[in-house]
């Protein structure tokens, strides 16, 4: 199945990618997606403890299982205001 991955702010700058379309296995959760990403872009690895995740424009736990067509966003710590 396929998901769309979105990266923001410094995660985008470090990976050089703002959006990726990825094929993932059935039953994959968001954490496994992140781990794969951090393997491909080792500069992202330091964010493993602090990254947040949103699925289809709602905050979601990293343990959420992904479905075909999901939009998954990884968010570094925020600094609005």
């Amino acid at each position: 199945m396929h998901v769309t991955l979105r990266l923001f702010a410094r995660l985008r700058d470090l990976s050089g990618k703002s959006e990726l379309r990825l094929e993932i296995p059935e039953g994959c959760d968001a954490r496994r997606l992140w781990e794969g990403l951090a393997l491909e872009y080792p500069a992202l690895e330091p964010y493993t403890g602090s990254v947040s995740c949103a699925i289809n424009e709602e905050y979601a736990k990293l343990t959420t299982r992904l479905k075909d067509g999901d939009e998954v966003a990884f968010l570094p710590p925020v600094s609005g205001g």
Binding site: R6, A9, S52, L75, P76, V78, G80
Partner: protein, 157 residues
């Protein structure tokens, strides 16, 4: 009437945002405007760029509006954040809280800015003489009750 919550690259219209939240039973409107400072962490700042995950940011403002309504039922809240390049002195965020009584309006607007800094998917890219840095604060987790308690404490409740 304008929407109560928004993210846009247009300059923020404070008066229009504050007007959203009044009404004949309202006795107090507290408006918070965050502006770009010319220095941060001891460095002179040249300009900022704000980025947002826009649909989720607007939903986070709606969530904060709901938290405020639960805690302070008389309060009407509006939150608008700007994105893109902002110069020194530009407003980055405007929060307006209208209420029958001033204590609620003050508490709700302070609570709202604390929550934005905790959970809204917005990032500040600071450009200074000779470099730039992404500012990173809190790991966004709307379900983190300890963080919400900190926001309530800062709102002096």
């Amino acid at each position: 009437m304008s929407p109560r919550f928004g993210v846009s690259s247009d300059p923020l219209n404070t008066a229009q945002i504050a007007a959203v939240s009044g009404g004949p039973e309202c006795g107090a409107v507290v408006t918070f405007v965050g502006t770009v400072r010319n220095h941060n962490a001891g460095r002179p700042v040249l300009f900022l760029e704000y980025e947002a995950y826009v649909p989720l940011a607007v939903k986070s403002f709606e969530r904060i509006g709901g938290e405020v309504a639960d805690r302070w039922p008389s309060v009407t809240l509006a939150i608008h954040h700007r994105v893109g390049r902002l110069e020194i002195g530009d407003a980055s965020v405007v929060i307006a809280a209208a209420a029958a009584h001033r204590a609620d309006a003050f508490a709700a607007s302070r609570y709202a800015i604390e929550r934005i800094k905790q959970i809204s998917p917005i990032w500040k890219h600071e450009h200074f003489e000779g470099g730039d840095v992404w500012i990173e604060g809190a790991t966004a987790d709307p379900g983190d009750e300890a963080a919400r308690q900190v926001a309530l404490e800062r709102a002096c409740t």
